[in-house]
Structures are given as C-alpha cells and as structure tokens.
Symmetry: C2
Subunit: 77 residues, 2 copies
DNA sequence: TCATTATGTTGCATTAATGCTACATAGCAT
DNA sequence: ATGCTATGTAGCATTAATGCAACATAATGA
C-alpha cells in the first residue's frame, strides 16, 4: 500500500506457475491480467490487489496463504 | 481492480469483527489503517489490497479465504 | 540463419485504494 | 439533557496497481 511502503508481500507465484508448466502469458490469461503484471508480481516489485491474488490463487489451484505471505517463505517449500 | 470493475470481492469482516467484540476502530488499529477504511470494506464499497487483507485476516485470526471470496458467502457461515 | 518464445526494462496514462477531515445520526449511559 | 461511542456519508489529495507499448536479450528449434 502507499501508506505502508515498508511492508512487502512475498509470494511463490513463479514457483507454482512453473510447477504447472505455465508461461507468464498463460497465467496472465487465466487470471485476466496483462502478462507483464505477472512479471512485476514475481519480481515482487509490487503486491497485487486482493482480487488479483484470489484469481491467481484460483488459477494455480493454491490457497492465498500458500502463495502470498507477509513473511518471507522458507526455502524449498 | 480498476480493470475489473465488474468483479467485486465479498467479505465477512463485520461478522468476524463483531464476533470478537471489536469496534471498527479497534480493528483498524490492529490492522494499521484508518477506521473508515474498515467501514468502506465492510460495506463492500471497494476491495482491499492484498497487504491489507492479510493484515485483517491476521487481526481477526482467520484465513484470507475464510474472510474474502470472489463468490458471495452463504448465510450463517 | 532466422523465427519464435519467454522474460526483463522503461516509460507513460488511468484509476482504485487509502488517508484524513468534517459533519450527521442513533444508541446508550449518566 | 448532555456527552460519548459507533457508524455512515461526502469530498479531496496522494500513490500504488494495472494496462499497454516498445525495445532488448537469451534460448530454442527449424
């Protein structure tokens, strides 16, 4: 958020996406967003809206909490 | 999202908040946002950022998926 | 070699999310 | 009656999230 620039959101989008053999474009199509938006999210240049997070989670068959966290994810799951 | 004005996000924030005996101000303090932001969310006038959704879920001891959904919630849980 | 695909980078425009201030109302307690 | 708390509403300012276009690079395959 603009009012909380110090608190990032960590994610495992790339990990989950590649595990399904999807390109960013594939995931973007499923989630209904621009393919570069997926890139920004994977590089954690910004955090998504809740709507997008829910769509991505659905597209990747994961729980929001499995894909996104306020705390860094541990190595290898 | 601005690019998906047709897809709202449903939530049970008020239900979960009152169940804990919290006022909007209480929840806002916990989540680190303005108390009126909670009001806007409860009235579903807009959907939160993922960061805020994660903070609210944590503040209410709930999973994001228990509090927010792309589909309307059924009656009484 | 050439084309395609996937990805990264930059830049610009639009808009929703959030903060904040002020005011109104209703309920409750004193 | 008065004050306090919780909530709703409206308006304005700021900024992050998203779209989109253009270009670069690397890998792959024909």
């Amino acid at each position: 958020m603009s009012r909380n620039p110090e608190e990032p959101v960590y994610n495992r989008i790339e990990e989950a996406r590649t595990a399904l053999g999807l390109s960013r474009q594939d995931l973007a199509d499923k989630a209904g967003v621009h393919y570069q938006t997926i890139g920004y999210l994977e590089r954690e240049e910004y955090s998504p809206s809740l709507v997008l997070a829910l769509r991505i989670a659905k597209s990747l068959n994961q729980e929001v909490s499995e894909l996104f966290s306020l705390n860094p994810f541990k190595k290898g799951k």
